[in-house]
Amino acid sequence: MQDIKITDLPLNPQACLDFVKDDASGASNSFVGRVRNHTNSKTVVRLEFEAYEKMAIKEMKKIVDTAMKKWPISKIAFHHRTGNLSVGEIAVIICLSTPHRKEGFEACQYCIDTLKETVPIWKKEIFEDGEVWVSATP
């Protein structure tokens, strides 16, 4: 079972954890990405996330489908936030259940690493003295 979502509303880790509950799966593994208060030595005021939503959902689904082929995942929630986020707010949640922990850790890492490479979502960092689209230029 999959629950893939992009939303401009706050993300809920407990709802994701509840979704992946499965009596045959002893491991519920999660990754939660939050807004950090600095980049290098600069203070981050907030982040703005933008998605090409139709394509981002498709790419997130490809990641989930691949993960479910590679590891014995029974349920997985993959949520990403859009809009303005302040420091500490949750930008992304991956939560998945597997029979044992090892494959859960691996699957979780695969999902977040691949999201950062392929899913068309962009973040702009807003500093006290300017702003920059992350990774846009070398």
């Binding site: 998605a51 090409y52 990403h80 992304v92 068309p120 689209w133 846009a136």
Partner: protein, 80 residues
């Protein structure tokens, strides 16, 4: 032919709008579209990468564009 192009992230800032209409030769390729964009807007050349999505899938430079395709500019992604 006229195509509509969606712009996201820094590409939206470069174009100053989230969608443009562009006149392309019939059977133009993704590579030709990128060359035209980079020639008209030098800032595109400074990006780490610029991918093009056609109908919400990543497209290679030799993909042929059609009039009703949904084309999108995909600068380096930075989700998560």
């Amino acid at each position: 032919m006229k195509v509509k192009i969606l712009a996201f992230g820094i590409s939206k800032d470069i174009l100053g709008t989230s969608a443009i209409n562009l006149e392309l030769d019939q059977h133009a390729t993704v590579g030709q579209l990128k060359a035209k964009l980079c020639a008209e807007h030098k800032e595109f050349q400074k990006l780490s990468s610029l991918m093009i999505a056609v109908n919400s899938e990543y497209a290679s430079t030799d993909t042929i564009l059609n009039e009703n395709d949904e084309i999108a500019l995909i600068p380096p992604v930075s989700g998560g």
